[in-house]
Symmetry: C2
Subunit: 318 residues, 2 copies
DNA sequence: GGGTCGCGGACAGATTCGGTCCGCGATGAG
DNA sequence: CTCATCGCGGACCGAATCTGTCCGCGACCC
């Protein structure tokens, strides 16, 4: 009967909504005998979910941490929180998690009721962004693209090239790669009949996935290497060279997340090469460090720092 | 048989792992006839999960967005991403979502296999924090506390008072409230036999939940109001008064997340009252605005800005 | 010691399940 | 246009399963 399976799902969900459930309560909640509850619990156990039980007064069933993760039943609010959290995670505050976050986001968005999707989008707007060396990537677009890759569906979108000219693209998406704080899409461009690497932040709003395609062999075994090579010519608007009066290890910890590399000069100083598209972001990263530093280039950054310094000095006057 | 229910769960999970599944493929994957697959799909539909189907060549089944959210089957990596994302969300980058995020986190942590928990904790460390008016709250502690509230379990922890004296507490936890960038726990202190409001960031590491208790009536109907009144005497280390040369609406948008309130002076200026425990954070927030501003108090902030301004000026020299 | 609560065997009847067989209709490629 | 593909669902039947009932056991806590 469908009833049995539905009940099983319900038990699973009940057990996750409250730590302890007495057999009798569960039975009442589910509208079956206690014996059936015991059987359901057994079934869950045989499915690999560790349900602990405590005897005596105040005892009950409790879902524990097992080897595998049970499917997570979420309330509306919680789902929204998960979606928002994943969008943050996908935009990269924590290294090495972006791809997984995007995959999870794809799964979630696929089944997210419309009313919740609206809430997520509304909340998304107010997210606080730090420094922002990374251009803002639309997390929903990211999810759409990730799903298109997974499902092998042709993707259409508008793309603005580095020079700012826009063009409509129609591609077979293969991989979404996250490197040095940017998202890239490795895809086969159907109109140009060639492999291309797209910067996701340059993809226009609302990419649409369409009919499915038969995947062709990738241009390289090592996709990450291929992409990073393809984009190595990619330049930031500004490249900064800055000497910081602090040990390289300290700086690298505090600058985690900035695109760039750090050279140790001596025990107390290091040279930071950082790339960014915004002077504000670059200035803040270094100011935020809290150490003395010296900018060698670019000139624009030096000028920006001077202006900022003057503004702060004015703020402190009275 | 357990088989049927297990299969149903598996179908649900398969349908979320790939967009399109042909009936034959599903049948092979599950080890049953195609007819049975159709029946399973029917069952899912009757459980409220909208499974769309497309006929013809290249057709297949597809899980759509329904009224309710199906339980989310997560891979290991994805679960870690969700946990990290939720921890970020719980620490409050997006308004009004913190409580839900903590609830979801509680659910997740309850069933998170140990190996994944370690990963989450490891990753948590490197999370980038902005400005940080909010003291760092241990997300795992938050989850433990939330679960203790939900499960009505006595909670023990070390608490350092405002003056810095530590004491061991044993309380009945009732509500976790998030206001103005801080977490508070409303609880009944069993030793002092009185209601108390605890700042979660002052709770020592590893709060432990114990035996369950019978809840007593709350001291007030409106818990949020009660707590906010109870903590109204709570002072920040620094209180700043700053005039900003920008419309109040713009400022309030960019300062979202800072504890404080904004008074409109005229169309082009507003007065911001902000509280914070760190001069760096306060300076950062106002500098980050990008507008001209003037600090009226505190003196420390003015001095800090001067020092910062000089440091930036030095950085720009060469 | 007694009450509470989880455990699980046994049994019987009702229900359901899954495989098989089959014809229908929609879709999309050639 | 035609054909192959693929989802749909009715019918049938034997096997498997589920549920409620009854009951004794053991653990735990007051």
């Amino acid at each position: 009967m469908v009833q049995t399976s539905a009940r099983l799902l319900k038990v699973l969900s009940l057990l996750q909504s409250r730590r302890f459930w007495a057999g009798g309560d569960l039975a009442r909640e589910l509208g079956v005998t206690e014996r059936s509850v015991r059987r359901d619990v057994d079934r869950l156990r045989s499915l690999g979910y560790p349900v602990h039980a405590a005897g005596g007064v105040g005892g009950g069933y409790q879902l524990g941490a097992g080897k595998e993760l049970p499917p997570l039943p979420l309330e509306d609010e919680e789902a929204v929180a998960v979606a928002v959290g994943l969008r943050v995670a996908a935009s990269g505050p924590v290294k090495g998690l972006e791809e997984a976050a995007v995959r999870a986001l794809g799964k979630l968005e696929q089944v997210l009721p419309k009313r919740l999707r609206r809430r997520v989008n509304a909340l998304q707007a107010v997210s606080v962004r730090i420094g922002d060396t990374a251009p803002r990537v639309d997390a929903e677009a990211l999810a759409v693209i990730a799903n298109a890759c997974r499902d092998e569906e042709v993707l259409r979108f508008d793309y603005s090239s580095r020079e700012g000219t826009a063009s409509a693209r129609s591609v077979e998406p293969y991989r979404l790669v996250h490197t040095s704080y940017r998202w890239y899409l490795l895809a086969y461009d159907l109109d140009r009949e060639a492999w291309r690497t797209f910067r996701v932040d340059r993809i226009g709003p609302g990419p649409r996935s369409g009919r499915s395609f038969k995947p062709r062999p990738l241009p390289s075994e090592d996709v990450a290497a291929y992409v990073s090579q393809a984009v190595s010519t990619e330049a930031y608007r500004f490249r900064a060279r800055v000497t910081v009066q602090a040990p390289a290890s300290v700086v690298s910890e505090r600058l985690s997340g900035v695109a760039g590399r750090i050279e140790e000069l001596d025990a107390e100083r290091c040279l930071v090469h950082a790339g960014g598209d915004s002077l504000e972001a670059l200035a803040f990263y270094f100011a935020w460090l809290g150490f003395e530093f010296e900018v060698h280039e670019p000139r624009e950054l030096i000028e920006h720092l001077l202006r900022l310094s003057e503004r702060l000095a004015r703020a402190a006057q009275r």
